[in-house]
Symmetry: C2
Subunit: 561 residues, 2 copies
């Protein structure tokens, strides 16, 4: 980074000419420079691939990871007549990957295993319908014939939801990739469920709008999958939840019913808001084939700053001040602890943005419609938090390259942690005042059990995440997966979360990874109500078996959540 580190960086910013004479970073119509996102995607993929592509290191079947899982014998096994029906119905040769009539292991593999290469199923058939009618026909057929089903979008989920466990039929939405309509006055976009996020966003970019969700996996994740998973991601703080942004959906229920709730209206108070059950429903009650979504204006100006802070109390103060002073332009407030930044430093060897050690670091991003105004707001905020000693030290990026470099100290954490024998990962929501305490308590617990440190199994306890959303990622890199370490963390960490009124899955969902822990989150009444919904829509239980509310009670494999 070209900017001098330490407090002088801030002084330098203050003494530059008034905004009108200063060169504002020319990042027209894009919220965050594309480099950052591209970087992020490639990092995560490379990380896991490098880990697992060594000779002889193949992906274990999910059924090996969870040996106590038994195939539900109510489900029919795939027969030739089923495959024939699918081929006849979907017409196009490429629409059915048939592993029954012939060996198609290699062709099926990308649909059987998830991108993290942690989960792997045994399906023999993948269907790629091209429109809602085809989805309806094949899904109804599966339901009539008791064939279990896994709907699949970009297969970029983090909890093993998007791949089969046994021989479930995969219904993949990739060929449903049309942008159906866009109203450039209202910003309302209607697309097929299989449209890739990045394609939707690129389309919107041409019209000055932005897709209200951003993820590292945007290059593969699909819009329908975003909804099914109720994805959170990087724009949540600014644009809020999909439950608010999605205006309508088209979905196919297990019995083949096409539910047309594809409203293009911001307001429509005419009956129960049925679509909401499908948002975060993880494909358990139907397949989302169409989406209508409200898209905001694309921001013309972006700023990124990086701080060191002396305590978690000061982090909270900084967050509060950011909300007050940056107000409507605050678009990210990310937290990284000292351990996480040490790990990035030792992994990348990059010069640290600020000198000296601090227990906490924050990354703040602003996005607004006027670069000069945003700079002024940021400057005033910086002056305040440094003057009040809320922040110990900080730097502000001067151009897109520096923004990408600063973001790397946040987004590179996963990559840096990945270069160990394994990592216990938890995606937690916690009321902000206790957000970091789970990290401290976990560290203390492993220390008291002498499981962490020089020569021990656990290498560190790391906390980082979306502070602005009350969402922390607790990561414990280990030399190798170890039952003693696992037993020290689980179910203790879920009990901890339960006591604090937090969530055991903030944004990743349940899938197969978290399914068995749902009892730590939801009481029996809520579970009963949820099961009623499942029973109502999917009475035969063909959708997403072994997952979501149907988690196994115990498993003995490594925690891979």
């Amino acid at each position: 980074m070209a900017a001098p580190a330490s407090r002088s960086a801030l002084r330098a910013l203050r003494s530059v000419p008034r905004p009108s004479q200063r060169a504002i970073r020319p990042i027209p119509r894009t919220c965050i420079p594309p480099r950052v996102r591209a970087f992020s995607v490639s990092v995560r993929r490379r990380d896991d691939a490098s880990d697992l592509s060594e000779p002889g290191h193949d992906v274990r079947y999910t059924t090996d990871l969870y040996p106590e899982l038994k195939r539900d014998s109510r489900f029919t096994e795939l027969k030739q007549e089923h495959v024939d029906f699918f081929k006849k119905t979907l017409e196009d040769e490429s629409a059915v990957i048939d592993g029954l009539s012939k060996d198609a292991t290699d062709d099926l593999e990308p649909f059987n295993r998830d991108w993290m290469k942690k989960y792997r199923g045994h399906t023999k058939v993948v269907l790629k319908p091209k429109n809602v009618e085809e989805v309806s026909k094949v899904l109804k057929y599966c339901n009539d014939n008791m064939l279990a089903v896994v709907p699949q979008g970009g297969n970029s989920g983090l909890v093993g939801g998007s791949v089969p466990v046994f021989d479930e039929v995969v219904i993949n939405l990739t060929r449903m990739n049309n942008i159906r309509s866009f109203d450039d006055v209202s910003g309302i976009l209607v697309v097929d469920g299989g449209v890739i996020m990045e394609n939707a966003d690129n389309f919107l970019k041409e019209h000055g709008y932005v897709y209200p969700l951003d993820l590292g996996a945007k290059g593969s994740a699909q819009v329908g999958g975003n909804l099914a998973a109720n994805a959170g991601g990087l724009r949540f703080l600014r644009y809020g939840s999909l439950h608010g942004n999605v205006l309508g959906i088209e979905a196919v229920l297990p019995d083949g019913t096409i539910m047309n709730d594809l409203s293009k209206l911001r307001k429509n108070n005419t009956g129960y808001d049925m679509k909401q059950l499908f948002i975060g429903g993880e494909g358990t009650i139907g397949i989302i084939t169409g989406v209508s979504i409200q898209c905001p204006q694309r921001s013309k100006a972006v700023n990124v700053a990086y701080f060191g802070l002396e305590s978690y109390e000061k982090v909270q103060k900084a967050f509060k001040e950011a909300k007050v002073q940056l107000g409507e332009i605050l678009s990210a407030f990310e937290l990284m602890d000292a351990e996480s930044q040490k790990m990035v430093h030792s992994h990348t060897g990059n010069k640290r943005p600020i000198e000296g050690d601090h227990p906490f670091y924050c990354l703040i991003e602003t996005s607004g419609s006027n670069g000069e105004h945003d700079n002024e707001k940021l400057e005033t905020f910086l002056e305040h938090v440094m003057g009040e000693e809320i922040v110990a030290d900080g730097v502000v990026a001067q151009d897109g390259t520096q923004m990408a470099e600063l973001w790397r100290w946040r987004e590179g954490i996963t990559e840096a942690i990945g270069h160990h024998g394994g990592t216990y990962k938890y995606d937690l929501s916690i009321p902000i005042k206790d957000l970091y305490k789970v990290v401290e308590d976990t560290r203390e617990r492993l220390e008291s059990k002498q499981l962490i440190g020089e020569g021990k199994v656990a290498k560190a306890v790391i906390g980082f995440g979306h502070m602005g959303d009350g969402n922390v990622h607790l990561n414990i890199p280990v030399r190798q997966y170890d039952h003693e370490v696992e037993a020290a963390i689980e179910p203790w960490v879920y009990e901890w979360i339960q006591k604090k009124g937090g969530s055991i899955s903030a944004e990743h969902g349940l899938g197969i990874a978290k399914a068995k822990y749902i009892g730590y989150q939801r009481d029996e009444t809520m579970l009963k109500l949820m099961r009623q919904i499942k029973q109502l829509y999917d009475p035969k239980g063909i959708m997403m078996p072994y997952k979501y509310l149907e988690g196994v009670k115990e498993h003995t494999g490594a925690a891979t959540s």
Copy 2:
């Protein structure tokens, strides 16, 4: 208004000193000056009261308005033993208004009639439980004994949902008025369902936050009722839907089950989002007793501008430019047509903000964290829309008083229209490009049938509303309610909306007023899915009979929607 009218007003603004030397309107921490809101509430109430308080002019019973409605004989009639149980259970003397043991007509009247004095029921008992356990006990008892129930909040609804039709038991939430918790770092507020919006907002104001919803009826409307009705209102454009802002609810189901989904987390992906069914559920499947809601920072600065425009195409252009140039600070974009402004002018006699006649007028509000920046943005926007001749003329308020005066040209429409024999009112969502066409087509239709104009029944066809949300209010003031006029509008207007993919109820809900028109909005599949939900939660059908999905097929009274 002190500011000179016409184009010179804008020039005056441009030539004033730079923002830093200019006196910024001192409206600290409040989005819109209190006067405006207070004005709005009092106007609406006064309007209807003056109309109906004339001697001999009493409110008709809903059962007279809808003579075809028959009391459902499955429901038990209220007996002494029921009242005794309620009194014993709720303990407090004032918690039961008992019209069975004695004549309590006057005491019951405020709970039997709605604030518009358009709907009036026959209840003999009102219950005011003070906590969720009491709600649970009385609701379970009603369910066990087949007593029909109407949950009631502030009774400020617009579709007759909040008052009984026959002798339903009223469960009023007024005594559940505690603020349960507030986290001033995250802005998450948890309150009883019976907390009045304005009280919630005043509480938040002290902490620098704002309740993410604003309504004329904020002084009486309750938080639980806001959710049940899925209220939209004046902050929708900026803060979005309750489906996105509400983080959790506590609700009592008809069988007395207490559903605790009162999450205080921004993110929680652990199962179906059950609470969403209750948002906009209009009390048909349970009673909302607690609410957790994400509240945004309160804006420090507010601006209001008022424009005249020559065509609806230019209104659309102005809206698009406002979104681009005002971006994150745009908080309202309201549309008023020439007829609406003529009516306000002739009713109030006030000098018009700008000279000359224009077919359309818009009111724009900005709310932001920095007054100087907001002024500059607004100035640039004004320069652009006037330079490009998108806007023909405009003024900008210089202080809170002027803001209130400008808002009055929007908010005073209802009052102005009210001073006629009656008004046919429709609250419609329409894709923005066709938003105003419904007004033009209605006008043309009444003209072609010679029902409008000098000496005719219909006096005008007026369009105004929340342009930014695609929500128009179509109003037809008449000398008296008239079957010929009504027959010309209905169901024609609903068919029109159906063809355009609009909504027959944007923000007011169904209640009893719109219930019978749901078929114009939702297809049989959606209705079936919705009825399944009703059946699941309220199998005996005790909640809100005769309303929502249970609308009568036809009615012969005046359209009072």
